[in-house]
Amino acid sequence: MTEKKGLGALIRQNSVSLMFVVICIICIPISGLSPSYLINEIVTRMGRNAFLILSLLIPIMAGMGLNFGMTLGAMAGEIGLILVSDWQIVGIPGMVLAMIISVPISVLFGLFCGKILNMAKGREMITSYIISYFMNGAYQLVVLYLMGSIIPIKHSSIKLPRGYGVRNTVSLLSMRQKLDNLVAIRFWGIKIPVVTFIIIFLMCLVIVWFRKTKLGQDMRAVGQDMAVARDSGINVERTRIISIVISTVLAGIGMIIYLQNMGNIATYSSHSQIGMFCIAALLVGGASVEKASIGNVFLGIALFHTMFIVAPKAGAVITGDSMIGEYFRVFVSYAVITIALIMYETNKRRAKSAVGAELEKAQLEEESR
């Protein structure tokens, strides 16, 4: 009885991941892509996205759900990169400097976001989602009006012709894949960006270590029951703010790693969908609003991006239109997030009605005695 129930629950909990496995299995042969091409693409995207997605884990641990506010960190990272490329600092030193610039901006954004989320306990996700829209306006103000007029921007390749504001695209040619290519091993035609992977691996170790620290323990306590944590003397508000600050800072660094791989910044749109795609990937990997592991991150990237790679090809083969891929990408991301949110609520309700069922069972047992 319990085993059967366990299997059913297992399938239900991992329904999103399973759905993606099925989609991938169907689409891979149709797309006609070679295995080495496919693996190469997945490895590249792993290096590109993993750090960003890892930044989501800590707020989930602190019970604040999926941090849509990571977009704020991404903005900080972009600001850092724009400044550094204007200063013509190239390669790895440029990246490091961009990270150094992004950190204080991220910390400020994180403090701001964390304070607001403390006022909206229990509604963190929708609040952080809206904050990211709101801050997008502030970001545009800085990039579109203040850069070039107040914040000095010299180079015309970055500045808009009118004299202030940043162009739609900022080229990062001087930094493009510098980190990935620092030590790159080729393996049956698959390029492995060793240094990027080492950084990601170290980040995973840090997260594992972090869980064992006092702060990590406090975050888990706060995440599960704020009232109990507060009664035991943990400063709940501060702990929650710290978790958002850490997430935002990591998202900023992750964004710089992401953009060095892409090779250019879409100044006004790079950050806008990154939060959604990262969250969707994490959910596809089997994470939920309240629980996520490092394994979920990598499984999620593998499944979600395999679908991205093969779906346009498969779509083109079937319908003759390759645009279907992009359409699919956005559509599926939103669908995945919606499913995850619904499952979160139904699981809560299921847990609640389980109490009633238990009462009924106890009563029947008593009667049969």
């Binding site: 888990r220 599960q224 944590a229 009664d231 003397g233 943990i234 009633g356 009462l359 009924e360 009667e367």
Partner: protein, 531 residues
């Protein structure tokens, strides 16, 4: 262990009032090292408030503090937060569990007091980045569990634990605090099985031997007699009796608790049961209700046509769950038949359609539309459910509110129930508690129900309003022949109003007595199945 000298704890002339409502008067209590005292009393007697004062609860300060002095080892203390009380050696195990569900027992026992090891990162940033020392956590938890003397698995996650083990985890957490001198146990055995309860009593004796003083609050009087040195009985905010446990017995304590024995017992209660041969109108069979804190198990109850049936019992025993479950506000199961018809559960609309009405104990949450006028509040359910106060045009295609009829009926009830208000258009939230309660009643009366559930009709209202509300209920029952089921924590008021009183204990009906029965018998029933 009654060594002379200054007592460990002394409470002198403790007074407390909530907004002019005196809940504690001149409480004097002393406690010596290693002494176990049992604190008993009905709900609302003031036990919890007294313990909150001792524990420095925020809620006491927020409501204007307290009068009198608390002395620990002869030193006057004033706790501004529970943390200061803990620091001074007071530990409290609350009735509601205060545990992190996803943590193992050991993590909960040492929550926020985990042994730590510094590392490089913590030296640079802050000591919150110290790594937890798992070995010492294991040791600390083991020592605490050993001290308690009841074995629980330190690695078991709380959410997988039977409820008794959760209770023991809480106790172990208090014992793991080195400075602990006084332990307050608030109904710790309520959730324990008989065996576990025995183990706990054994553990309390062990604590006392080690010099920890224990204040033990429970409704199970046998346990008090078994483990306590002294029994302190509270009633209506006074300590009415204090006695060595060995000199008293359950019956005597019950009498002290329920009290009022001097007054002639039946003076105000209804004496004859007029409805003994009336037909059964409501049959409840095997009802269970999952109302948090008021769980109902396997209730069978018959209500006779035209009677007022009272449901009494201690708080948390399930009396509130019965009307809330039948009316579909909480998940319920079982059979309910009204006038020969099955009433489906978990469906409030069906209940209302079958001419049930419910006056909820949660006036402000469930009972009233706070921001609307009295007219709206009184007429809304009748309009919504029975299409009353509506004018129909075009053969019912368009329905228009009949403002005039609404105003009339509201004014009628304002007069009848003496609702104090400026006009029938005043907003419900501007009225006092007692008048809000009357509006709730008027709302239910306007539905002209065949069966009326009234839950805690006099909670939080003053004496004058109380009498009016109860009179209105009695009149409504008498004049319209409406069957009334009234749930109340106040036995006295049930005895004044009802024909028969069912006492709920441990989620079940412990017995049904006529209102004229002696208080002692009611008291015995209330405590009979407490768990």
């Amino acid at each position: 262990m009654n060594n002379p000298g200054t007592p460990l704890l002394e409470m002198r002339n403790i007074k407390k009032n909530f907004f002019g409502n005196q809940v504690l008067t001149d409480i004097n209590l002393t406690l010596r090292e290693g002494e176990v005292i049992g604190l008993v009393g009905e709900n609302g007697a003031g036990k919890s408030t007294l313990m909150r004062i001792l524990f420095g609860a925020d809620m006491i300060r927020e409501t204007g503090g307290y009068g009198g002095d608390i002395l620990i080892n002869g030193q006057k203390v004033q706790f501004n937060s529970p943390f200061e009380a803990i620091e001074a050696g007071i530990g409290m195990v609350h009735q509601e569990f205060s545990l992190i569900p996803g943590f193992a027992a050991k993590e909960n026992i040492l929550l926020n007091r985990e042994p730590k090891k510094p590392n490089l990162a913590s030296r640079i940033f802050s000591d919150r980045l110290d790594t937890l020392n798992q070995n010492e956590i294991d040791e600390g938890a083991e020592t605490a569990i050993e001290k308690m003397g009841v074995h629980i698995d330190k690695n078991m996650v709380i959410s997988d634990m039977p409820v008794g083990h959760k209770q023991f985890t809480e106790i172990a957490r208090e014992l793991s605090k080195d400075q602990l001198k006084i332990l307050i146990l608030d109904e710790p055995t309520a959730v324990l099985t008989e065996k576990e309860a025995e183990a706990l009593l054994e553990s309390i004796r062990g604590m006392a031997e080690r010099g920890i003083a224990v204040i033990f609050i429970t409704h199970r009087l046998q346990e008090i007699l078994a483990v306590c040195d002294r029994v302190v009985v509270m009633r209506d905010g006074y300590i009415v009796n204090e006695s060595a446990a060995k000199d008293t017995n359950v019956k005597e304590i019950t009498r002290w608790m329920v009290g009022r024995e001097i007054r002639s017992e039946t003076e105000s209660s209804k004496t004859e049961d007029n409805h003994a041969d009336a037909k059964t109108i409501l049959e409840i069979r095997r009802l269970w209700v999952d109302m948090p804190g008021e769980i109902v198990r396997n209730v069978n109850l018959d209500v006779r046509e035209g009677e007022i049936l009272g449901i009494g019992g201690l708080a948390g025993q399930g009396k509130l769950g019965i009307p809330n479950g039948i009316m579909g506000l909480y998940e319920a199961g079982g059979q309910v038949r009204f006038d020969g018809q099955d009433i489906p559960l978990n469906n409030p609309r069906k209940c209302l359609d079958s001419s049930f009405a419910f006056v909820s104990e949660d006036r402000r949450g469930v009972g009233l539309l706070l921001d609307e006028s009295l007219e709206w509040n009184i007429a809304f359910p009748a309009m919504q459910i029975q299409n009353k106060f509506l004018k129909e045009y075009f053969g019912g295609l368009i329905k228009w509110r009949d403002e005039k009829a609404i105003e009339e009926i509201t004014k009628q009830y304002i007069d009848e129930l003496a609702i104090k208000c400026t006009s029938s258009k005043q907003k419900a939230k501007e009225l006092s508690g007692g008048n809000q309660q009357k509006v709730c009643l008027a709302k239910a009366f306007a539905l002209h129900p065949k069966l009326l559930f009234v839950s805690e009709p006099t909670r939080g209202i003053d004496v004058g309003a109380k009498a009016l509300v109860l009179d209105a209920l009695k009149r409504f029952n008498r004049e319209n022949g409406v069957t009334v089921v009234m749930v109340s924590s106040e036995l006295e008021e049930l005895r004044q109003t009802c024909d028969r009183i069912a006492i709920v204990s441990g989620g079940k009906i412990a017995g049904i007595l006529p209102a004229s029965e002696s208080l002692e018998n009611f008291g015995a029933l209330m405590l009979s199945q407490v768990k």
